[in-house]
Point group: C2
Chain length 178, copies 2
């Protein structure tokens, strides 16, 4: 899988459909990964992403301390890794090793990219005003990577209690919107 | 289509997959509807939803003045209405009439439900701290309605520039998460 740098102006099209993400952090020499569905675009360019990371998640401390992370977008082939990451804690498990995920150095942050994900977004935390009340972080995407061979990614979309919708066909409509 | 009240504790499962929404408002006797993809869950119960409504949208003034709206979830059958709403402004068009959408009175807010949408979430604005900087609103869902016959809704998921992913199959995985 040869990934290429992807224009920041097009990042919104990767996240707007609402896929489950794998969020990676690195803190004190320890990399971790968690599954996350609570995210939204907040600005086109530079791309801003709002997301909720629970204070109960091991990643919360790493994210607040380092203010860096990577948002990795998995496809259906990684379904067991996604669920495994959600079912376990980085306090006790090296999730990369356990679930066969390959960490790759990022270019602008210390958190690793996940090689098996078709897209990776290197991010920094730029606003924490809603962190105390809602565990809500505003991230700015610094650098994006994409596997250009993956045109219609079969992303996972969480419906709750183990149910995931898998991305279906893409249709083209006469929209004038960005 | 007979809709039933839907438990607030299960609302997250409707929004987490990331569907395009139709947001309705009512202000000074004028109801309006806009298409929206920038939203995220922020709390399970009571359900909190964060969303971005641009200051350029006609709905922005109604939302800030009334602090009320309804989030309606359309399926693929409403694709032309969704795109039509996105391509036009409530300043000039009665979008309900133009796109064949039926407004139905809500129970807790003045904004109308859209009859043709399989789910409707009546909301109030509860936090505007990020409104000035990002046009970001935190909504609390007051009342939810669902068409119980729609088990696997073929929702629309915006990929940008007229491309929409249509929800595919749902798979069941051994997740312990909510």
């Amino acid at each position: 899988m040869a990934k290429r740098a992807y224009p920041l102006s097009k990042v919104y099209g990767l996240l707007e459909p609402g896929p489950v993400l794998l969020l990676t952090t690195a803190h004190r020499g320890h990399a971790n990964v968690m599954a996350m569905s609570w995210h939204t675009m907040m600005e086109f360019e530079p791309p801003l992403v709002g997301c909720v990371v629970s204070g109960r998640d091991f990643s919360f401390a790493a994210l607040t301390a380092t203010r860096q992370c990577v948002l990795n977008i998995p496809t259906v082939e990684l379904q067991l890794a996604v669920v495994g990451c959600g079912n376990s804690s980085g306090r006790r498990v090296d999730k990369f090793e356990r679930f066969g995920l390959t960490p790759v150095p990022a270019s602008t942050v210390d958190a690793p990219l996940i090689a098996e994900c078709y897209a990776n977004l290197e991010c920094r935390v730029v606003d924490t005003r809603l962190m105390n009340r809602y565990n809500f972080f505003v991230l700015e995407v610094q650098q994006a990577w994409l596997d250009p061979s993956c045109k219609d990614p079969r992303t996972l979309h969480h419906r709750g209690r183990g149910a995931f919708m898998v991305a279906g066909e893409t249709i083209k409509l006469p929209s004038k919107a960005k």
